[in-house]
């Protein structure tokens, strides 16, 4: 099979500059806890959305309950689903 490219368009993707190992909301490392908690461990769990973005559960709950959230992921602005 031969494939001939008839045309193509360049697509640029805007990405937030955020390290994979920090929470985009509180900007604390995932191996520690969020700024509201004192001790790392089970009390400050991590959660992933269907968009694959990860946050401290405490942080993302605060965001989804804030009036600005509109049910969107704070990183990629796709619908946030646990």
């Amino acid at each position: 099979m031969k494939v001939r490219v008839k045309n193509w368009s360049a697509v640029a993707v805007w990405r937030w500059k955020v390290d994979d190992d920090t929470c985009g909301i509180c900007r604390m490392a995932f191996d520690g806890c969020c700024t509201d908690c004192r001790l790392p461990g089970d009390e400050c769990p991590l959660v992933w959305g269907q968009c694959k973005h990860c946050f401290h559960m405490h942080c993302i709950l605060k965001w989804v309950h804030s009036p600005n959230a509109n049910q969107l992921c704070p990183m990629c602005r796709q619908e946030w689903k646990f």
């Binding site: 937030w16 509201d36 600005n68 959230a69």
Partner: protein, 220 residues
């Protein structure tokens, strides 16, 4: 659309500056601190000369500095922004306004209040002060006259682009030149009419800074 969701900031400004962050939860302060440190070492910010500094060391009030983008009437100017951190930051956007007067469809020429979607309903908690400043710089390059903050400026932008460019450039020269005073600009304006510097200075002093009156003195 004439949205003014971003409330005039005078109330927020006075309450946060006097309290010095006492009412801000640790989470808000901790995040601003992290952002502040990141900004000081951010190559992207350095390369476009955007600066972030503290007001009163409190991390609830900051000052941003943006150079006017090249190829725009703001080129050559340096624009100061006042940034107020709300108590529930980063769940609410920072309150940002121009401290330097600027002639732009999306900025109030009277109050400096900015009409920018990410400072209102398009805010997301993962955005940062860096994102905000870069977006404001982009807005200076690309005005959005269909979502104006200043109707007079927006109308001029749409109907008479040449005059808009002239006015915006004049405002940049008068208000946004570091180390150049308003009087220097007026004197240059008078000298451009062919008078020598000493005469212009005397005339402007006599006219108490009023350019039109100074011109009358010069021609008298």
């Amino acid at each position: 659309m004439f949205r003014r969701k971003q409330a005039p900031t005078s109330a927020a400004v006075s309450s946060s500056s006097s309290s010095g962050g006492v009412n801000h939860p640790a989470q808000a302060i901790a995040r601003v601190k992290k952002e502040y440190v990141e900004c000081q070492s951010d190559e992207g910010m350095k390369s476009c000369n955007i600066k972030l500094s503290l007001v009163e060391d409190s991390f609830v009030k900051l000052r941003g500095e943006i150079p006017g983008p090249l190829g725009t009437p703001f080129e050559g100017g340096v624009f100061q922004l006042l940034i107020d951190i709300p108590q529930n930051y980063p769940f609410n956007p920072p309150i940002v306004k121009f401290e330097t007067k600027v002639w732009h469809p999306n900025v109030s020429s009277q109050t400096g209040v900015i009409c920018l979607d990410i400072l209102k309903d398009q805010w997301a908690a993962a955005m940062t002060l860096r994102t905000v400043m870069l977006s404001i710089q982009a807005l200076m390059s690309t005005p959005e006259p269909d979502d104006p903050q200043d109707a007079v400026v927006a109308n001029q932008y749409r109907s008479n682009r040449e005059e808009y460019n002239r006015t915006a450039k004049y405002w940049t020269d008068v208000y946004a030149r570091p180390g150049v005073s308003e009087d220097d600009v007026k004197i240059k304006q008078l000298m451009d009419m062919g008078f020598d510097e000493a005469k212009c200075k005397t005339a402007l002093a006599k006219a108490k800074g009023n350019v039109e009156q100074a011109i009358e003195h010069l021609f008298a």
